[in-house]
Amino acid sequence: MLRTLGAETIEDLLSAIPAAVRLQRPLHMPEATPEPNLRRQLQAMANRNLHLDQAISFLGAGSYDRYVPSVVAHLAKRSEFLTSYTPYQPEVSQGMLQSTYEFQTMICQITGMDIANASLYDGSTAMVEAALLAIGPTGRGEVLVSRAVDPQYRQTLMTYARARGFTVREIALADGVTSAQDLEAHLTNATKAVIVQHPNFFGNLEDMATFADLTHHQKALFVAVITDPASLGVLAPPGAYDADIVVAEGQSLGNPIGFGAPALGIFASKSELMRRLPGRLVGETVDDRGQRGYVLTLQAREQQIRRERATSNICTNQALLAVFATVYLAALGKQGFRELGEQCVRRAHYAFDELTKIPGVQPVFGAQAAAVPPFFHEFALRLPMPIAKVNKALLKEGIIGGYDLTSTYPELDATGTGSSCALFCVTETRTRDDIDHLVAALRTTLSKGNKR
């Protein structure tokens, strides 16, 4: 091959790189490892991680252990999906395009929204994109975000806000839910968007209709954040409470949890926002033979056309995860999606009821039992012992315990009491045996702890 180019050695071609910047030594990194050795090394590395088929996990807080029917990966991992790229040539990419169109449709079906895009990076950046859409091309304005929104999402928003130059204010909490009073107090005509998570980070349901109303009074956009779309199986969809934008984390729709990512940013909205949407959109059209077909459309919003005036800088997205979600939702179907939500609610409530029977274990929110805010599949408990210590003890019983709320919400800490707050998650994957095992282990741990 070199000879056809009139070159003697590869160096003749490499002379295109100025000598001054040529690397004159081999890279300092491990030598090439043959496949059999490498597989063993990586298996050993993976084996050092405790995974969710080995432990019984009650950890949620934005990433969820979900049963994924076998059929999902068998289809979504087909190499024709896996090893293709953005369908720039629609005539040979109808598979990805139609799947994405089905994804967009299903997202509309579960959220009750008009339109949805082809995916964003994850829930947190999808929330940022919603804020950016609301803020618009000037880059200036104010976004109100509930303090009950996932702390990592809020941190991400803050990072972008500092760079882009807009203001973010937090709406305060009132006993585990967003304070409508505080929202009202902060809403001004500078407000471009109000962001509330539902169920919120504590698992509690929010009064979304009221917040939407308040927001719309100030002509701002109301953004609903959802971290586990399974909730939409039983809860009123954002379309019903008049959200303008819904952003969600779609990992739990059939994708591996994978240490938190790749994840699946979901973005749906009312149709009037169509030309301001970030990311790719697939639309229907026809071919020159008169057949139905699908293409990337409304690309004039995107960076490859609009460049510095694009609605977003996103290019590569999370297309394959959207395929997983599509197959997953198809597999569950109308009835299964409902039942998924029911499974979560009932199992979580069974766990809540059993756990709160343990002496010293109390709900964090709601002074009396009756006032405990309604929750979906996560709930916050106050434990009479530091959560780190509790979790260490549970781990010995093969249990991954709850999320340490005290670290991110120091205000929940009743200092000096030695108590702590933890967020427990119970999805459809936790059997009664699992839950009973947790209850027993926690009971033992706490009673031992008390004796010491």
Binding site: I17, L27, L38, N47, L82, V234, A263, Q318, H349, E428
Partner: protein
């Protein structure tokens, strides 16, 4: 192959595929557990299909999709190289795929170690001090890098630097990202050899310039031979130099952005490290920074402390998180596997072969297709169909569509913008000479067809599942979702079943 129906028009009421866990707990009515007004009134109108219907449907859809595994994919700027299957298997190990991001780090040391070692390898490859793995893709890396540059200037009391210079050949994400970081964009012209026009650059460089974003080799596939000079110029005026690493496949083990003078580098692991593109994603866009920018990196970062792998929070100057969790971890597993499999010599060979393959194809086509910048290319090159357009009315699109008829994906078209009717070809190192020769023969046949039968090219493609699709109709009457009882967009022509088209 006739059209595949939408999943929504398959199935029948009451049908379902997945089974839920058995009810081992009391089945209390939802209304006992949640307030009525919070509940969904209807069922989400999802499909009602059996498992076999799902399987056939998505199998058919997959079969209607071109991929690297089905054929040559010389899509310039995208590095559609072969994706080794070992990487997939490693990313599927339950010890990686089934761990929760908020687990106690002591229960996931293998995952943190992998990230730690991947960072080290990427730092070495790029010649940078430190790397963050958080960004989810190249564009996300860009905005992260620009936010770091912004924070750096602000920290030094130079918050007034609000201009980012971008060469006219740059990828669209560069200006889009700069806007997102609240910079103004100024375009720098290319010179006659396809590099940055030094005079124009000099003119534009003032103390409001925060950074120059460059791709090197750039989007023409050309290595900018003045890179050292450019770096000096930018740094002298207090600016930072950003490296868009989408084209890093050309430089592995051959040259390092750090040694060229760059301050920030992003990687596209889905390109350079062969993690599959997944029909549009996920990818991963780690960035590396020079030592003066390390304090501004987002956190947390993996660290090895007293023999234990931990996640360390970022310091006070950090720009903060750019996303939830740790980066696209399962993509990182694939990239790690790829780098360890290849090792230093293998990576160098990757780039050498990528360069060889590109020059081989370029050499074989430049007599028939116009090559605006006729010089040794790196891993890709850009032809132009402008002469075909002028002489026969044949556009880059027509050529692209015709290529599809041969079981080959089309090159990138109309990018970079500085080449008219651009045809951007990146063969990648994983293709065989036989495959390249086939492609060359196809391109030469098409050039001949352009001359002899341009109308035929206008009608291409012919052998694909669908014919040329109407983009204008799609944008004019946007239909972004299925709904029951939708009118057809256009009256359907009947296609007889059971007959080849």
């Amino acid at each position: 192959m006739s059209t595949e129906p939408l999943i929504f028009t398959l199935g029948a009421p009451g049908r379902r595929a997945a089974t839920m866990p058995s009810w081992d707990i009391p089945e209390r009515p939802l209304s006992d557990l949640l307030p009525a007004e919070a509940l969904r009134q209807d069922l989400a109108p999802l499909p009602e299909v059996s498992e076999i219907e799902i399987v056939r449907h998505y199998t058919h859809l997959a079969q209607r999709n071109f991929s690297v595994d089905s054929g040559f994919y010389p899509l310039g700027s995208c590095t559609m190289k072969y994706n080794p299957k070992l990487n997939e298997d490693m990313a599927s190990l339950p010890g990686f795929a089934r761990i929760h991001p908020l687990q106690d780090p002591a229960t996931v040391p293998g995952a943190i170690q992998l990230m730690y070692e991947l960072e080290e390898m990427l730092a070495e490859i790029s010649g940078m001090e430190r790397v963050t793995l958080q960004p989810a893709a190249g564009a996300h890396g860009e905005i992260t890098g620009l936010m770091i540059i912004k924070a750096y200037h602000a920290h030094r009391g130079e918050g007034h630097r609000n201009i980012v210079l971008i060469p006219d050949g740059a990828h669209g994400t560069n200006p889009a990202s700069a806007t997102l970081a609240d910079f103004e964009i100024r375009e720098v012209r290319s010179d006659g050899r396809g590099g940055v026009d030094l005079d124009h650059l000099r003119e534009m460089l003032d103390d409001r310039v925060a950074a120059l974003m460059m791709t090197n080799p750039n989007t023409l596939g050309v290595f900018d031979e003045h890179i050292v000079e450019i770096a000096r110029m930018v740094h002298e005026r207090g600016g930072q130099l950003y490296y868009d690493g989408a084209n890093a496949n050309a430089i592995l083990g051959l040259a390092r952005p750090g040694d060229m003078g760059f301050d920030v580098v992003h990687f596209n692991l889905h390109k350079t490290c062969s993690t599959p593109h997944g029909g549009g994603g996920p990818g991963a866009g780690p960035i590396g920074v020079a030592s003066h920018l390390v304090p501004f990196l987002p956190g947390p970062l993996p660290a090895l402390e007293q023999g234990e792998y931990v996640m360390r929070d970022a310091g006070p100057h950090s720009i903060g998180r750019v996303r939830a969790n740790h980066g696209n971890f399962l993509v990182l597993v694939r990239a790690y596997t790829y780098l360890r499999f290849n090792g230093p010599d293998g990576l160098r060979q990757v780039s050498e072969n990528a360069i060889l393959n590109a020059n081989y194809v370029m050499h074989a086509l430049k007599d028939l297709y116009y090559l605006p910048f006729d010089r040794t290319c790196m891993h890709e090159f850009v032809l132009s169909a402008s002469r075909f357009k002028a002489d026969y009315g044949v556009t880059a699109t027509d050529i692209a569509k015709r290529i599809l008829d041969f079981g080959i994906h089309a090159p990138t078209n109309y990018f970079p913008l500085i080449v008219q009717e651009a045809i951007m070809i990146e063969p990648t190192e994983t293709e065989t000479r036989e495959q390249l020769d086939t492609f060359i023969a196809v391109m030469r046949q098409i050039a001949e067809e352009a001359r002899t039968d341009p109308a035929y090219l206008k009608g291409a493609p012919y052998t694909t599942p669908v014919g040329r699709l109407d983009l204008t109709l799609a944008a004019r009457k946007p239909r972004l979702r299925w709904e029951p009882n939708q009118e057809p967009l256009m009256p359907a022509k009947p296609v007889p079943v059971g007959h080849s088209h």
